[in-house]
């Protein structure tokens, strides 16, 4: 009987290891930018073609950067929550409008409300590539020093949002 122990233990270990892998979402790729400065960029805003916003303009206060587009169905679902936190919380939210049509995007904000301090208009998607964006919605948390603290892929909800705020507070205490 004894000679079965070792294979059994190894087998159980393997099962636990593989089973834990089943709960990972393969579509979520950890960001390579966590702990790094935000990439340098300069983009015009969605509302004003002639108004440029650069990465330097964003630093100084913590903010969320939410990647959105009118072609993204999940973004519509998420939008209500963004409008909600923009109302009740003081956190600044910037939008990164990803490969979208300006007119459609402006109309969307008019209809559903605008939670963003500004929306950056990235029609070619080049700035988004620098941020490591590969879909929408995605949300980045950036601290006052301009360092990316957290990235969430997919719909934002209360739980994720609270988690983000906690990270920001821990960072402030350090």
């Amino acid at each position: 009987m004894k000679r079965f122990y070792i294979p059994f233990i190894i087998f159980s270990g393997l099962i636990v290891f593989l089973a834990s892998g089943l709960h990972n979402d393969p579509s979520v790729i950890p960001s390579a930018l966590i702990g790094k400065k935000i990439p340098e960029f300069s983009l015009s805003t969605l509302h004003d073609k002639n108004k440029e916003i650069s990465s330097e303009d964003l630093t100084g206060e913590p903010f969320l950067l939410n990647v959105w587009a009118t072609w993204c169905a999940a973004c519509k679902e998420e939008h209500e929550f963004l409008v909600d936190i923009a109302k009740r919380s003081k956190i600044i939210i910037y939008g990164l409008n990803y490969k979208d049509n300006r007119t459609a995007a402006l109309q969307w904000l008019q209809e559903l409300g605008n939670p963003y301090k500004e929306s950056l208009y990235d029609s070619a998607g080049n700035v988004s590539i620098d941020w490591g964006v590969y879909g929408a919605p995605e949300t980045f948390l950036v601290d006052a020093q301009g360092v990316i603290r957290f990235k969430h892929i997919g719909l934002l909800n209360e739980e994720v949002y609270q988690n983000m705020i906690k990270k920001l507070l821990i960072n402030r205490q350090e």
Binding site: P26, I29, S31, A32, L33, G125, W131, G132, Y134, G135
Partner: protein
């Protein structure tokens, strides 16, 4: 007249040589482009390389790779560009570092265990 013919022949020859040379360097760039694309993962449809994928982002990234090649960037610089943004997940050949060491050496360790096991099983037991 003779001079004119010589001149014409010479210029035609020159034209041929230069076009062959330029198509060669184009071909070289094209080969590098094709090779790099097979080594980069499409982030949207994850089991396809940038070469295979039809996703919007893959098209943009292919364009990026092409423009970087045309600007004279090395293969290394292009892989780094992708890794900085999307992590080593974007590379089909994972780098050897602290995080991936297990991935790289596990097969050899496993093989070693099997060899030790076989040795004891077949040689030692006969003695």
């Amino acid at each position: 007249m003779k001079k004119k013919i010589t001149y014409t022949v010479f210029s035609i020859l020159l034209f041929c040589i230069s076009s062959i040379a330029s198509s060669n360097s184009n071909q070289l760039l094209e080969n590098r482009y094709a090779e790099i694309l097979t080594k980069l993962r499409c982030l949207v449809c994850q089991n396809q390389s940038l070469a295979d994928s039809d996703a919007d982002l893959a098209q943009d990234l292919r364009e990026k790779v092409r423009s970087m090649l045309e600007r004279g960037k090395t293969d290394e610089e292009i892989y780094n560009f992708m890794e900085e943004r999307y992590g080593s997940f974007a590379l089909y050949e994972p780098p050897f570092n602290k995080k991936t060491i297990f991935l790289w050496i596990a097969p050899s360790i496993l093989l070693l265990f099997v060899l030790i096991f076989l040795y004891y099983r077949f040689f030692r037991s006969q003695e």
